[in-house]
C-alpha cells in the first residue's frame, strides 16, 4: 500500500524482513559469485586483468573437451529422457494402467533418490565385478560397460526422465478433451491427432521438463565422477582444477565456473523467451477420460512402463540388499548380516550425525525464511519483491560445486572465516534448497483466498498478528511439502558439500563418495541405504501431507 502524504514513514516488520533477506542473499550469493567472476579475470601467470583463463580454456582440448562432453551428455540425456518420459506420461494419463498410483509414486521416488546412488548401484550391478558383467562373461559375451559416456547418459536418463514425465503428465491432465474430439470430428486419425493437436499443445510443458533435465545434468557432479573414468565433464573438471592435490588453480576453476553458469543462464533465457511465451493457458472444462483397456492390450500397454520403472527404481533396491552383504577385500561374499552397519556406526557416526543435524538446522531456516519470502513474493509485489525473487531463485542456475568454490573464495579470509565450519555447510544448504520451499509456498499462497486475511484484520487483529496466526498457519501444508523436498535434497547433497567439508563436518554423501572411490562397497551401501530409506520415508510424509497431489516440479 502506498504511504499517504504527510504521514511519517517508519520501518515496519516487513521492511526488516526484506532488508535481512536481501542482505543475507547479497552476502551469501552475490558476493561469492562476484568473487568468482573477479577471480576468473585474473591469473597467477599474467599481471592485471586478463582473459588469459578463457583463452586457455578455448585453446586447450583438456579444458574445452569437457565442455563439449557436458553438452553432448546433457543433450543426449534430454533426448532419451523425452523419448521415455513423454510416452509414459501419455499412457499413464490416458489408459487404465494397473497400480497407477504406485507407479507414479515410484517414478517420483526415483527422481528424489540421491543422484550419485544411482551411479553407485549401477557399478555394483554392471561394473567390472557386477552381477550383469558376470552373467555376460558366463555366457561368453562381452559385457556392455557402465563406465564412460554411455553409462553416464544411461544413469542420468533413468534418474531424470521423471522430470519430463511429471511436466508432461501435468499438461496432459489439464488439456481439454474437446480439443482432441474436435480434431477427431474434423476427420483426423488417432496418431495424426496426437501429432497435430496433443503434442503441440503440451510442447511447452515437455520443453520445460527438458530444461530441468538439462540443468540438472549440467550441474551434477557425483554421477560423472563415479562413472566417468577419464570421460571428464565440466563439473568434474572444476572439482579437479580446484581440489587436485598437485596444483590448485582457483583462477581457472573460477573461469570454468563462469562457463558453466553461462550455459545454465543461456538455457534459462531460452526457457523464458521461447517456452514461456508459447505457454497456452488452458482451462480444462473436461479433463480427458481414461480409456479402459482389457486383457492383453492392457498388459502390453503397461508392460514397458513397469520395465522402465523397475530399472529406474532398481538402484535403490540393489543398494539396500547390498548393505546386508558382508564381503571380503577381494569381493567374495562372506555372509548376510549387519556387519556393514556395525562398521559405519563405529567409524562414520559423525558423518551420520552431521548429515541430520546440518539438514535439520538448514530446514528450520528454510521453513521460516520460506514462509516469509513466499508471503512477500505473493502479497507484497513490487520492485523489491522481484529483486528478492531473482536472488532466491538464482541458486537454481548455479551448480553446487560452483557455489562451493564461491563460498570458499569469499569466506576463507578475515573478517569472516567460515570455511571448514559447520555454518558454511548449513549456509550452502539453505541457499541452494530454499527455492523448492519458496516455489511450493508461493504456489500454495496464490490459491489462498486473500479475503481470509482481510477478514481477520477486519475483526480487529493487527496485520502482523494475522500473518502469524492465520496466514502462516494456513500456508503450512504448502510450505511443509516444499520443505520435505528441500530436506531430501539436503541430506543427499554432495556437489557443494564436497567442496566445503572439513574432517569434522563430513556428511554421509561425502563418506559414500570416498568409500566408493576406495572400492569399499560394504559401508558405502549401508550409508546409501540410510539415505535412501530416509528419502523414501520423507517422501511418503509428503504424499500424506498433500494427499498424493505432490508437486515436485
Amino acid at each position: 500500500m502506498k504511504q499517504r502524504l504527510g504521514q511519517k514513514w517508519r520501518p515496519d516488520f516487513w521492511f526488516w524482513v526484506k532488508f535481512l533477506v536481501i542482505a543475507s542473499m547479497c552476502l551469501f550469493i552475490v558476493y561469492p559469485f562476484y568473487n568468482i567472476i573477479t577471480k576468473s579475470i585474473f591469473s597467477d601467470k599474467v599481471e592485471g586483468v586478463t582473459l588469459y583463463n578463457f583463452i586457455r580454456f578455448f585453446s586447450k582440448p583438456y579444458y574445452y573437451q569437457p565442455l563439449i562432453r557436458s553438452l553432448v551428455v546433457c543433450s543426449v540425456t534430454v533426448l532419451t529422457s523425452t523419448l521415455i518420459g513423454v510416452p509414459i506420461a501419455y499412457v499413464m494419463t490416458r489408459y487404465n494402467v494397473p497400480g497407477k498410483t504406485l507407479v507414479h509414486i515410484l517414478i517420483i521416488m526415483s527422481l528424489m533418490s540421491p543422484p550419485f546412488i544411482g551411479a553407485y548401484s549401477w557399478i555394483i550391478l554392471a561394473g567390472r565385478n557386477g552381477i550383469v558383467a558376470k552373467m555376460f562373461t558366463a555366457l561368453g559375451l562381452e559385457a556392455p560397460t557402465i563406465y564412460g559416456k554411455g553409462g553416464i547418459i544411461f544413469v542420468f536418463t533413468m534418474h531424470l526422465f521423471p522430470y519430463v514425465y511429471l511436466y508432461t503428465s501435468g499438461a496432459m491432465n489439464s488439456i481439454d478433451s474437446s480439443l482432441e474430439e474436435a480434431a477427431e470430428n474434423l476427420g483426423m486419425s488417432k496418431l495424426k491427432r496426437i501429432w497435430t493437436v496433443t503434442l503441440p499443445v503440451i510442447l511447452p510443458s515437455i520443453l520445460a521438463g527438458c530444461v530441468m533435465v538439462f540443468m540438472t545434468c549440467l550441474a551434477d557432479f557425483g554421477t560423472p565422477m563415479l562413472l566417468g573414468e577419464g570421460y571428464t565433464v565440466l563439473p568434474v573438471l572444476v572439482y579437479n582444477e580446484y581440489m587436485s592435490e598437485s596444483a590448485t588453480n582457483p583462477y581457472m576453476a573460477s573461469a570454468l565456473s563462469v562457463v558453466i553458469v553461462t550455459c545454465s543462464l543461456a538455457i534459462l533465457l531460452f526457457q523464458k523467451m521461447v517456452i514461456d511465451k508459447r505457454n497456452y493457458m488452458m482451462s480444462s472444462l473436461r479433463p480427458p477420460q481414461e480409456t479402459k483397456l482389457r486383457g492383453l492390450r492392457r498388459f502390453l500397454v503397461s508392460l514397458p512402463i513397469y520395465l522402465v520403472v523397475f530399472v529406474a527404481f532398481l538402484p535403490q533396491i540393489v543398494v539396500i540388499c547390498q548393505s546386508f552383504v558382508e564381503r571380503s577385500f577381494s569381493g567374495v561374499v562372506k555372509g548376510i548380516n549387519l556387519k556393514n552397519y556395525q562398521i559405519i556406526s563405529a567409524r562414520l557416526a559423525t558423518n551420520i550425525r552431521n548429515t541430520y543435524v546440518f539438514s535439520l538446522i538448514a530446514i528450520a531456516f528454510i521453513i521460516v525464511v520460506g514462509i516469509l519470502v513466499s508471503y512477500i513474493l505473493v502479497r507484497k509485489k513490487g520492485k523489491i519483491a522481484t529483486l528478492i525473487d531473482t536472488l532466491v531463485m538464482f541458486p537454481y542456475v548455479i551448480p553446487g560445486s560452483v557455489l562451493g568454490i564461491g563460498l570458499i573464495i569469499a569466506f576463507n579470509r578475515k573478517p569472516m572465516v567460515l570455511v571448514g565450519t559447520a555454518s558454511i555447510m548449513i549456509i550452502s544448504y539453505v541457499i541452494r534448497k530454499l527455492p523448492y520451499t519458496v516455489r511450493s509456498g508461493t504456489a500454495f499462497l496464490y490459491q489462498m483466498d486473500p479475503f481470509i486475511e482481510e477478514a481477520s484484520i477486519n475483526l480487529g487483529v493487527s496485520p502482523l498478528k494475522t500473518f502469524f496466526t492465520v496466514t502462516a498457519r494456513m500456508m503450512l501444508p504448502g510450505i511443509m511439502s516444499g520443505a520435505v523436498i528441500s530436506w531430501i535434497t539436503c541430506i543427499n547433497e554432495l556437489s557443494s558439500s564436497i567442496m566445503l567439508y572439513s574432517g569434522k563436518t563430513s556428511t554421509i554423501a561425502i563418506a559414500i563418495y570416498q568409500e566408493v572411490m576406495h572400492m569399499s562397497d560394504g559401508p558405502a551401501s549401508a550409508l546409501a541405504t540410510i539415505l535412501t530409506v530416509s528419502s523414501i520415508v520423507s517422501l511418503l510424509i509428503v504424499f500424506r501431507l498433500t494427499k498424493g497431489k505432490v508437486k515436485i516440479v
Binding site: D449, F451, I452, E454, A455, G460, V461, S462, R473, M474
Partner: protein
C-alpha cells in the same frame, strides 16, 4: 458515539485511472444503505476504503465525529461480510464467530454467551462444532454474518454477500439479512450489482457509475423518479422516446403533445422515459403495431413498433386485459404524464417534477 457514516469527496486513483471521482455520502445511524451499480463503477472500491483495505487518495471519512482516514483497518471496529465469506478454514464455526471477540479480549463467560446468541440468531447453533468445509454455501453465509455482527460493530459492511448463492437461497438470505439488520439496528453499507436485490433490501440506495454517484434515494424514489437516463435504464426496464419541449409542452410525435409538469423552463430536444407498466393501450394516442407478445402469467409483455419506427416494451396486467392483442394488430399507446420522466437530451438532466 453516533454511528452515522459521513464521506466527503472520496477520491481513489489507480495510476491514471480514476476509480472514485469525489464521492460524498451521508449514511444515517441504523440505516440500511446500498451502493448499487454495474461492475467497475467503484462501489467495492468505496466499501474497501471504508473498511481500510484500500488507501484513501483524497477526501474525508467520518464515523460520527471521528475522522477515520488514518485509523488502521484492524482498529476501525467495522464488521464485514465478504463476497466469498472468507471463513477461516482451519477453525470451527464457533471458533470463527469467536475470533473477533478474542481479538477484543472479551472474557470467556461473555464470549460463550455472545457466540451462542449469535449462532442462535442466524439459526446455526446445531453446526457450532463443524469445520467450514462441511457447510453448504448458505450455512457459510450465516457463519460470515454471525462473525461480523457478534463484535457489535459500529458499522456493518457487506460486499455482494449473496452473489455466490443460487437464486432461491439468495431471496431467502436477503430476508434473513434485512430482518437481522432491523433487529440489531446496525448501520449497514451493502454493495451489489443486482438492482432487484437493492430495491428489496435497502432503506436508501446510491446508484453509481464510473466513480460517480448518479442518484441517492429510497428504492421507491429511485424507481419512480430516476434523476437521469442512466438510473432509469439501470433500475428496472425503461422505454426511451425522443421528443421535444416547445412552449412548456412536450411534443412526443408530430400531432401528439402532452403536459408533463416541468421543474424549470426549457425548450429543445428531450428524452422521455416510461416504464413498461406506465404505458397502456387506448382508443387514441401514439399509433403503432404489435410486433411480438409474450404471455408471462400475471402480465403480458408486448413489443410494439410505433409508426415513427421506435420500438417499445409494454406490460399489460392479465387482470386488466380483455384479450391478447395478436401480432401485427394496430394499437394506440398512452401514458400518464405525471408519472413518466423527462430529461434534457444533451445533458441527461432531469426536467420532469
Amino acid at each position: 458515539m453516533s454511528n452515522e457514516v459521513i464521506i466527503r469527496d472520496a477520491v481513489k486513483r489507480y495510476g491514471d485511472f480514476t476509480a472514485l471521482n469525489g464521492v460524498s455520502l451521508n449514511i444515517k445511524e441504523g440505516e440500511f444503505f446500498t451502493l448499487l451499480g454495474p461492475s467497475g463503477c467503484g462501489k467495492t472500491t468505496l466499501l474497501r476504503m471504508i473498511a481500510g483495505f484500500n488507501s484513501i487518495e483524497g477526501g474525508d471519512f467520518y464515523f460520527g465525529e471521528k475522522r477515520i482516514n488514518d485509523v488502521p483497518a484492524h482498529k476501525r471496529d467495522i464488521g464485514m461480510v465478504f463476497q466469498n465469506y472468507a471463513i477461516f478454514p482451519h477453525l470451527t464455526v464457533k471458533e470463527n464467530v469467536a475470533y473477533g471477540l478474542k481479538a477484543r479480549k472479551v472474557g470467556k463467560q461473555e464470549m460463550e454467551t455472545r457466540v451462542s446468541e449469535a449462532l442462535e440468531l442466524v439459526q446455526i447453533s446445531h453446526l457450532a462444532d463443524r469445520k467450514p468445509n462441511e457447510l453448504s454455501g448458505g450455512q457459510q453465509q450465516r457463519v460470515a454474518l454471525a462473525r461480523a455482527f457478534v463484535i457489535e460493530p459500529s458499522v456493518l459492511l457487506m460486499d455482494e454477500p449473496l452473489s455466490n448463492l443460487d437464486a432461491k437461497l439468495r431471496v431467502q438470505m436477503r430476508t434473513v439479512i434485512k430482518k437481522l439488520q432491523r433487529r440489531l439496528g446496525i448501520t449497514t453499507i451493502y454493495v451489489t450489482h443486482d438492482q432487484e436485490e437493492a430495491l428489496a433490501i435497502s432503506d436508501r440506495i446510491a446508484v453509481m457509475k464510473d466513480g460517480n454517484i448518479m442518484q441517492i434515494g429510497t428504492p421507491n424514489e429511485i424507481y419512480a423518479k430516476p434523476q437521469n437516463p442512466f438510473v432509469a435504464g439501470f433500475i428496472g426496464v425503461s422505454n426511451f422516446l425522443d421528443c421535444e419541449v416547445r412552449d412548456g409542452r412536450t411534443v412526443v410525435q408530430d400531432e401528439i403533445t402532452v403536459d408533463i409538469p416541468l421543474r424549470k423552463a426549457f425548450s429543445g430536444k428531450a428524452k422521455l422515459s416510461a416504464r413498461p407498466e406506465q404505458l397502456f393501450f387506448s382508443e387514441q394516442g401514439m399509433p403503432g403495431k404489435v410486433l411480438f407478445s409474450t404471455f408471462l402469467g400475471d402480465f403480458i409483455e408486448y413489443e410494439v413498433e410505433l409508426d415513427n419506427g421506435q420500438s417499445l416494451i409494454v406490460n399489460e396486467y392479465t387482470k386488466d386485459a380483455s384479450e391478447v392483442h395478436p401480432d401485427g394488430a394496430q394499437v394506440f399507446l398512452r401514458f400518464d404524464p405525471n408519472r413518466v420522466s423527462l430529461y434534457e437530451a444533451e445533458t441527461g438532466e432531469v426536467l420532469s417534477k
